[in-house]
């Protein structure tokens, strides 16, 4: 599961930034990958669609590296179903 999430996150970043996936590691920071605030919005939007989850604003702010994105998503995927993803004020 974790490999699958990591693979999809790296693939999404590679597609967005038009760079080879092998240049992206779990330890890469989003800043190093030149993902600015707008890229970040698009990335989280793509990942929400891909995993059918809702990334809260506060959660998005703490995702600064590929590893943090992957771990954050794993948490949200694990919680999926436990609570309504559309619950307001979840952040």
């Amino acid at each position: 599961m974790s490999d699958d999430v990591a693979e999809k996150v790296i693939a999404a970043i590679a597609k967005m930034k038009r760079i080879p996936p092998k240049t992206i590691t779990l330890d890469s920071s989003l800043e190093e990958l030149k993902i600015d605030s707008l890229d970040g919005l698009n990335l989280f939007f793509d990942l929400e669609e891909a995993f059918d989850i809702n990334i809260p604003d506060e959660g998005a702010k703490t995702m600064r590296s590929v590893r943090q994105v992957v771990e954050g998503l794993q948490q949200l995927i694990a919680n999926k179903g436990a609570s309504n993803p559309g619950t307001p004020g979840q952040s």
Binding site: D36, S37, L38, L41, F44, F45, N54, P56, D57, E58, A60, G86, P88, G89, Q90, S91
Partner: protein
């Protein structure tokens, strides 16, 4: 024709803080915020819950039945503000004056509420047709057109749309037209009604809206709060206003604008600083003459620290003597109406000698280390003030005001 001084002889506003300028100023001058739960639409599918809404507003309280079908909510707000402003000006219309009066309005998204309804009908309800007046209700210039028809104003009339700077650009151009003798009178301002479901979902996706409230310049700020409403001013040459014995609320003395040429959503301090300097230059004012700035102050982490850097770069040591506040903490961010609503807060503040506070302020931020009038309105006589608008897309517009002094 020589330049003339430009008097503000009428103002009108409708917002979360009230249906007219008296109610508005009563709230602003006491630091009361109009931010609360959204009631206009079902908010259960939104991540954020609050906005600065004109609660309990009913179209039929303001407009005759035959007119309602022609008006989007943004247009109604613009018209209500214009009606109050023109009534307050006490202007007596003549055919010549109607021909020499300009109307310049601003809005960011115009009648998008009407568009939302039309799309719902088509895509969701599978209807085969939409309301035949949709185009006339959606168009951004609807406010300017309806003002011209209501008062028979036949001079230059147009609409500017520069996102959150729309109203300041509109007022600035109307000011220049009156100052340079291109118009004998101007009705100018802006309106916005952004609280439709699709538009709120779009703002949600931008991740800039606070989950609770707007705390500009406070370290624990978490974003902006959307607002709706309209604000309008009547402008005319100072001497003409004096000659007819009009009440003068204040004076516009300068206007400056610039483009960042930087990023579609991230602000640039250099671009905004050029707009502030340009407004001071247009007014012929040294920075030390400014006493108060009504900040753009959206309450997002990026805007407020950048705006602080802008003010420090333009004003140098004088920055520590300036009083600054964001009234968006009370009336929300009304986007294309923001500049007009904030112009009215600024003008009434200068006139009454009460500077509006930054409401909801909780915690000093070293990156916003200016005197932001936290929470408590301040009695202070200032002669000159600025009002900043820095839009998405990097388009900046700054107005300079003077309290009414003969």
């Amino acid at each position: 024709m020589p330049r003339c001084r430009v008097a503000i002889t009428g103002l009108g506003v409708i917002s979360a803080l009230g249906r007219n300028s008296g109610e508005f100023w009563n709230s602003i001058s006491q630091g009361i915020s109009g931010i609360g739960p959204i009631e206009l639409i079902d908010r259960t599918q939104l991540r954020f819950q609050n906005a600065a809404e004109v609660h309990g507003y009913r179209t039929e309280d303001y407009f005759a039945a035959d007119r309602i079908s022609l008006l989007d909510r943004f247009c109604e707000f613009g018209l209500i503000a214009a009606q109050e402003a023109i009534r307050a000006s006490g202007i007596e219309w003549t055919p010549e004056l109607r021909e020499r009066t300009a109307i310049v309005t601003g809005t960011a998204t115009g009648g998008q509420t009407t568009e939302d309804v039309a799309f719902w009908d088509l895509y969701r309800l599978q209807r085969s047709r939409v309301n035949p007046l949709s185009i006339a209700k959606v168009m951004a210039n609807a406010v300017a057109s309806h003002i011209s028809m209501e008062y028979g104003i036949t001079g230059p009339a147009f609409t500017l749309s520069t996102a959150c700077s729309s109203s300041n650009h509109a007022i600035g151009h109307a000011f220049w037209m009156v100052r340079e003798g291109l118009a004998a009178l101007a009705v100018t301002g802006g309106s916005e009604a952004p609280l439709s479901f699709a538009n709120l979902k779009a703002w949600e996706a931008m991740r800039v809206v606070s989950p609770d409230t707007c705390r500009p310049f406070s370290k624990n700020r978490t974003g902006m709060i959307l607002g709706e409403g309209g604000g309008m001013l009547v402008l005319e040459p100072w001497d003409a206003a004096r000659a007819r014995g009009a009440k003068i609320f204040g004076e516009i003395v300068g206007f400056g604008m610039s483009a960042d040429a930087h990023h579609i959503t991230s602000p640039s301090s250099e671009g905004a600083a050029r707009a502030v300097k340009s407004a001071l230059g247009d007014a012929g004012l040294p920075p030390e003459m400014i006493g108060y700035i009504n900040a753009h102050g959206t309450g997002t982490p990026a805007n407020d620290s950048t705006e602080t850097a802008v003010i420090r770069s333009v004003f140098g040591k004088h920055a520590d003597k300036l009083a600054i506040s964001s009234t968006k903490s009370m009336h929300g961010h009304a986007l294309g109406a923001a500049g007009a609503i904030e112009a009215i807060a600024t003008v009434l503040g200068l006139q009454d000698g009460i500077l509006p506070p930054t409401a909801n302020y909780a915690e000093p931020d070293p990156e916003c280390d200016l005197d932001v009038i936290p929470n408590i309105p301040r009695a202070a006589v200032c002669e000159y003030a600025l009002s900043n608008s820095f839009a998405f897309g990097g388009l900046n517009a700054v107005l300079a005001f003077r309290r009414p002094v003969s």
